[in-house]
Symmetry: D2
Subunit: 263 residues, 4 copies
Amino acid sequence: MNEVFKKESIMEGDHLLIVLDNKRTYLVTVKRGEKFHTHKGFIRFDDVLEKHYGETVLSNLGVSFFLLKPSIYDYLSKSLRITQIIYLKDVALITAFSGIGPGSRVIEAGTGSGALTSVLAHYIRPSGKIYSYDVKPEFQEKALKNLVRAGVADFIELKVGDAVEGFSERDVDAVILDLATPWLVVPRAYDALRGGGSFVSFSPTIEQVVKTVKALEDDVFIDVETIECISRRFKVKEGETRPETLMIGHTGYITHARKVFKE
Amino acid sequence: MNEVFKKESIMEGDHLLIVLDNKRTYLVTVKRGEKFHTHKGFIRFDDVLEKHYGETVLSNLGVSFFLLKPSIYDYLSKSLRITQIIYLKDVALITAFSGIGPGSRVIEAGTGSGALTSVLAHYIRPSGKIYSYDVKPEFQEKALKNLVRAGVADFIELKVGDAVEGFSERDVDAVILDLATPWLVVPRAYDALRGGGSFVSFSPTIEQVVKTVKALEDDVFIDVETIECISRRFKVKEGETRPETLMIGHTGYITHARKVFKE
Amino acid sequence: MNEVFKKESIMEGDHLLIVLDNKRTYLVTVKRGEKFHTHKGFIRFDDVLEKHYGETVLSNLGVSFFLLKPSIYDYLSKSLRITQIIYLKDVALITAFSGIGPGSRVIEAGTGSGALTSVLAHYIRPSGKIYSYDVKPEFQEKALKNLVRAGVADFIELKVGDAVEGFSERDVDAVILDLATPWLVVPRAYDALRGGGSFVSFSPTIEQVVKTVKALEDDVFIDVETIECISRRFKVKEGETRPETLMIGHTGYITHARKVFKE
Amino acid sequence: MNEVFKKESIMEGDHLLIVLDNKRTYLVTVKRGEKFHTHKGFIRFDDVLEKHYGETVLSNLGVSFFLLKPSIYDYLSKSLRITQIIYLKDVALITAFSGIGPGSRVIEAGTGSGALTSVLAHYIRPSGKIYSYDVKPEFQEKALKNLVRAGVADFIELKVGDAVEGFSERDVDAVILDLATPWLVVPRAYDALRGGGSFVSFSPTIEQVVKTVKALEDDVFIDVETIECISRRFKVKEGETRPETLMIGHTGYITHARKVFKE
């Protein structure tokens, strides 16, 4: 029965991650009869259609490229073009602290590039829903393209609106904030959350964190915690092993808490 | 319609997280007519059954406890009793690097306490499967209790066996290793993975990492990367804001890669 | 001529660091005819007086102890009993940022336990001077004992006084602050410094840093920089090499700057 | 008497640090009648000679530059042109772990650019000595220029030689290594050190550390410790305070130990 899965074929219309090396990857849609141009020559999609995921294809210049099925994090890294960047480590931790999973109902604000949105949607499939708010409709138009491409648009409701003015959903499992003034949204998050539901906020500056934690204490949240996750990449090779010289020293702080009812 | 969800009632047989403060939390099963004893007095479950999640209950000594629905990470922290500890941040990153989601088929070795297993199972529900290997049947007996309690046992197949000798599954989406000699398992992981599937290994020592990365390069994996995630907790209070004095300085290194086919 | 130095003998009245292991070290004064008691038996100083630095002595229970000449950092770690702790890494960086060396004239506030004072004095010998201010005379009495023991008291002038009210010295090479409200002392530091002289402040909280940096900008300082130094200890052993699990996650932030003259 | 020091005048032949901003600083020698060219116009040294340290001078284009007396660390950052870079934090910690001060006799290998050498010499003045070994005479020629410029050449003896073959000095207070194979030099360092003297080694890779620590244990050293110091710079401004995005993630590991005599 495992044979059914074996060497999955690449099909017309598939999203495909074409990989030259760690730094040069391309996220494309397979279109019969067309070509994809790289600076190492072009790749004919007709050649690709005879291949399986994990195999390689040659460009017309004889350069070899790997053919991969994109993961949700490949979509993430490809959609990080607009607004502030959230890194994989932060997305992973925000997801974990939110406690969500298949079936969860989640409010996110703001939508931004849809990068975080698409990962959240990936995890709440197939029965959950992401309600993603942004004040700027033009952001959401761009985000929508990313979400459609990542195949998760059906699990997301994009809503134009200012989180400071409140959310229309109630009893959601989590409210996730990546916006400039999270402390102003805390009371609105409280209104929208179910008892025990998770509040998670991502902020680059410490002043945002101080104001947000202060607001959380005022509104009967428990388990309030702020962490910073520092990710170091390593060069690993016998005799040369060491952390990389240059690193991203800071992206942001993550604050999370849980709603309880006032006595 | 949101009213359906509103103030979800606590029911007989529910798992319940009873919270006194950040450090004193209890994961229990609600049993009509019985009591739960704490060092701040006992709580009658009959009192609990009149409550909703997020509300509080008083012990017989008048001390107030919060009543929460446990998240998958609450189960995680409660099952971290056996073998080596994997922290939330590592679990979150392992999950992210594995690229899994609802429907994924995943091999994990070793099972250990079932802590990581339960989180992986949480995310692949309802249509995926975790095949979790451990050489020690007695570990898996204990792990099973944790998995049943976390409500994810249906999505997991516990298998007694040595990962070094290979896996019986093929074309899985990810192989996740948390064991002493991951480098010896790399060829077995290769056999079991689908093209493009993810290899993820968690190791406390740098020597394990060096050997594993060496083994990965020999077996046609791409996107090989090793990172260490350092998590810092903050004390956040106006005028006193600072990272906490004591921190966990190291848990382990995470190495991940993707399988491709040899030419 | 090197023979003169060889195997330096331990003499009556010397300060001696007696070392059992990394965690159990004792800083004592050698006194003919007396004993030093440890929980591994007692050591006769008469036995010690036949030895050279670097050699071992046996206690009456046959346990071996190393006999070392204390370095300035041994005095540092032994005098860290009172007030807030400054760690070796912070002392080293404060010294470096201050730009001091033999001959420098330096203001320090507050004196605290004299730990930082003694290291600063060590480096400005024999022709420099440390002016060390503290509001609490009782602190300085205790600090004096540490400074005398470390053999640096001649290079230090202890002054009782509130740094907020100003210093009586002028044209000093550096002003080094380890006190609760450094921002209030910035104008006083300006008055006391020579042109180009160094301001260095050590503070545990980020709010102290923000206020201090704001004050520095108002008073014509250049090269204003704030850093945090995180020190990780490693377990180094073939096959087991890794950062230690527990670490000191935070001691404080160091802010430094240089005085220039207003136009 | 303080008046003597007040507003120290800039003199013909002085080394002068000309500062435009944090990133554009110039280390020059003051020469009457000459000009110093910058991309913001030229500065006449005759104008400078009427100034005091800490004051400003205008270029012919009306741009203002600060005039500072260089600290030893200014020389350090200006001489970091050749071979591997040692950062201020590492230089500060190496100095601290070595336990040196005025009067110390120290072996250093290799000389490299003379950056570390000059700082060590700064601290052992006026009565100590640095014996600095390098296999490459051409490195030492370049280093000598840096050492002369920093005003510390009198306190240093440059020696051409391979540290692996041993040192001619005996009973030195510290041996400081910044070279590719420190573990091969450990027995030579032992021979050269006094009892209780300090061994300090700086290495970028973990494999160097593992071999060095192994060699240290074989040769009766105590207090063996390896640390890594991670330095983070902060952006400090009310409402925008955060660690900087890009940081130097790794320079090297520092291993230190103390010589004792074999029984």
